[in-house]
């Protein structure tokens, strides 16, 4: 189920895995692992930003620029995950791998934004970061 979902998600943009002989390594391991890690890490980063930095600790990192920094750190991690996954599973590196990393990075941006919108309300210091919408006072 999760495998199908993430495989579908990545192959939607990437097409079928290359080199083709590693198709099920991608589908059964790399895609779901990467997808899950992406979701969990992004969630963790968003929680870190909104609930740790800007609720428990109140570090003062509430500005949009700080949010963007977190977004970028998350993007870098998101770029690295596929490369690490591919490497650890003994899959040949291919230009597909980098396309995959790139797509994952794009997804990380979308996901980080989504999680931010969903979770920012719970933050004391940064619930208006990156913008007030959709929360009302």
């Amino acid at each position: 189920m999760i495998q199908k979902f993430f495989s579908g998600l990545y192959e939607l943009l990437l097409g079928r895995p290359l080199p083709a002989n590693f198709t099920n390594d991608y589908r059964e391991v790399v895609f779901p692992n990467t997808g899950l890690q992406l979701v969990l890490i992004t969630l963790a980063m968003v929680i870190l930003y909104y609930y740790v930095f800007n609720r428990i600790m109140s570090t003062g990192f509430y500005k949009t620029q700080h949010w963007v920094i977190m977004l970028l750190i998350n993007a870098v991690i998101a770029f690295a995950i596929p490369l690490i996954q591919v490497n650890n599973n003994g899959i040949e590196t291919h230009s597909y791998t980098y396309m995959f990393a790139f797509v994952n990075t794009v997804y990380s941006l979308v996901l980080f934004f989504l999680f931010s919108i969903l979770l920012k309300r719970g933050s004391v210091q940064a619930w208006t970061t990156p913008m007030k919408w959709p929360n009302k006072k």
Partner: protein, 450 residues
């Protein structure tokens, strides 16, 4: 001009949209169809795991050696003299019995001299190693009539089955029926078949090794005209060593005890139910081409694959086979290339090449299990699933015809021929014809990739 360019780009855009949409659609369809084959793929690994471990070659075998000592055999074993070379027969046999007696691969050994008694019944005299050795080295002194071939084989086989031993039968296999039973010339093949029936029933296999040796003395051809006998001085006459026993034991004997096999070999009743094999899809030495991947990620060996050949990119991949259990001769790349049959069901498939493992391959742990690598090409699928089967048929070796004659009356003029050898072999072949068409049979399943 500008307008047409616009039209072009617009239609291109439209095309893109169509492609994207259709891509989405087929994806969904495929993923729906995917579930079923995926489930069936799960089971092969468990079954295949046991395959490489099946019936290991026995450490030691029991061997009964039968040497025919009719008058016709005397010429192979001339008495030794200083300055005279031993015949091929003598030296080969000497090595053989020495290996049987003192080699580490033989447990129980028995030596028999086969002859005919006064009533025309075959007699197997159990002798000691020394007697056997002196017989080979010094020749046969007594006047012994030749035993009819079927009877000899039957008697020897019965003896060995009783003692649970591999029979090694050495004879010139010149069929000399009793003058009263000339009809046996006609029924030679069926007689051979009858005499070896027990071998077939016991599930035994037969290896026939042929060699020729210098012959000194009286030669008694099967065809008695124009001469009933001829005196030869070193002309080459064929002799045969038949090894009959369980497949593994026969292979153990041919491999460990004979050491140096003559090039003329024929194997009957050999059957490899479980030839270990796997699609090799991830090795650097054997990169596949096109869309092909193992149906199950962790399957080892991989016996089910998914593939999707396209017009421009046909699928090509390698199948690794462990043929180490096969007789050496049958392991040769050329032999396999010539005789292997690829049968695609649900697809078109062909054999591109056969490669034996080289040192680089043996160094790679994943590949070291396999001795041969077959490159297969699948340019087109016909169904969404199917099989690709590789078969190695039982083929009658070419040398058998070459060593066959219908008139052995003058071996000097027509050397290294045996009277009606093909008939003898036919008889053996007939024994196994019905159930053993193929030496081995390997089937790999495939599904169309989604």
């Amino acid at each position: 001009m500008l307008l047409t360019r616009f039209k072009c780009s617009a239609s291109f855009l439209l095309l893109c949209v169509v492609v994207v949409l259709s891509g989405c659609y087929t994806r969904n369809e495929n993923s729906a169809a995917e579930t079923e084959p995926a489930a069936t793929v799960e089971q092969p690994p468990a079954a295949d795991k046991a395959a490489p471990a099946a019936t290991p070659a026995p450490e030691k075998v029991n061997v009964n050696l039968y040497l025919e000592i009719s008058n016709g055999m005397k010429g192979f074993m001339p008495p030794a003299e200083a300055g005279k070379e031993p015949t091929v027969f003598q030296s080969r046999l000497n090595k053989l019995i020495s290996e049987i007696q003192d080699g580490r691969y033989v447990a129980e050994k028995k030596y028999y001299l086969a002859r005919e008694d006064k009533q025309g019944q075959p007699v197997l005299d159990s002798v000691s190693y020394n007697t056997m050795k002196s017989t080979v080295v010094s020749g046969i002194r007594a006047n012994v009539l030749g035993t009819p071939l079927p009877d000899l084989l039957k008697a020897a086989l019965e003896q060995s089955v009783k003692q649970n031993a591999v029979s090694v039968i050495i004879s010139d296999f010149i069929h000399g029926p009793h003058p009263d039973k000339r009809g046996q010339f006609i029924s030679l093949d069926s007689d051979i078949r009858s005499s070896l029936k027990e071998a077939e029933q016991q599930g035994l296999a037969i290896a026939v090794l042929a060699d020729a040796s210098g012959f000194y003395g009286n030669y008694y051809p099967a065809v008695k005209k124009p001469a009933t006998s001829r005196t030869l001085t070193g002309e080459e006459v064929p002799f045969y060593i038949w090894v009959i026993g369980r497949q593994q034991e026969v292979l153990a004997v041919t491999k460990n005890i004979f050491r140096n096999l003559p090039p003329q070999q024929a194997y009957f009743g050999f059957d490899y139910k479980d030839v270990p094999f796997s699609a090799i899809l991830k090795a650097n030495q054997f990169r596949p081409a096109g869309t092909v991947y193992c149906a199950s990620r962790n399957a080892d060996p991989c016996t089910a694959i998914k593939l999707l050949p396209e017009k421009s990119i046909p699928v090509e991949f390698t199948l690794g086979l462990d043929l180490s259990a096969l007789p050496r001769q049958l392991q040769q790349e050329n032999y396999l290339k010539r005789n292997l049959k690829v049968i695609g069901s649900g697809c078109k498939a062909s054999l591109v090449s056969v490669t034996a493992a080289d040192d680089a391959v043996r160094a790679s742990p994943d590949l070291a299990r396999y001795t041969h690598f077959l490159r297969l090409q699948v340019p087109q699928l016909i169904g969404t699933s199917g099989t690709i089967t590789l078969q190695l048929p039982q083929v009658q070796p070419a040398w058998i015809d070459a060593w066959t004659t219908n008139n052995d009356n003058n071996p000097a003029a027509d050397p290294k021929k045996t009277y009606q050898l093909d008939k003898i072999i036919d008889g053996v072949q007939a024994l196994y014809r019905d159930q053993r068409t193929y030496l081995f049979n390997v089937t790999i399943k495939f599904n169309k990739a989604d």
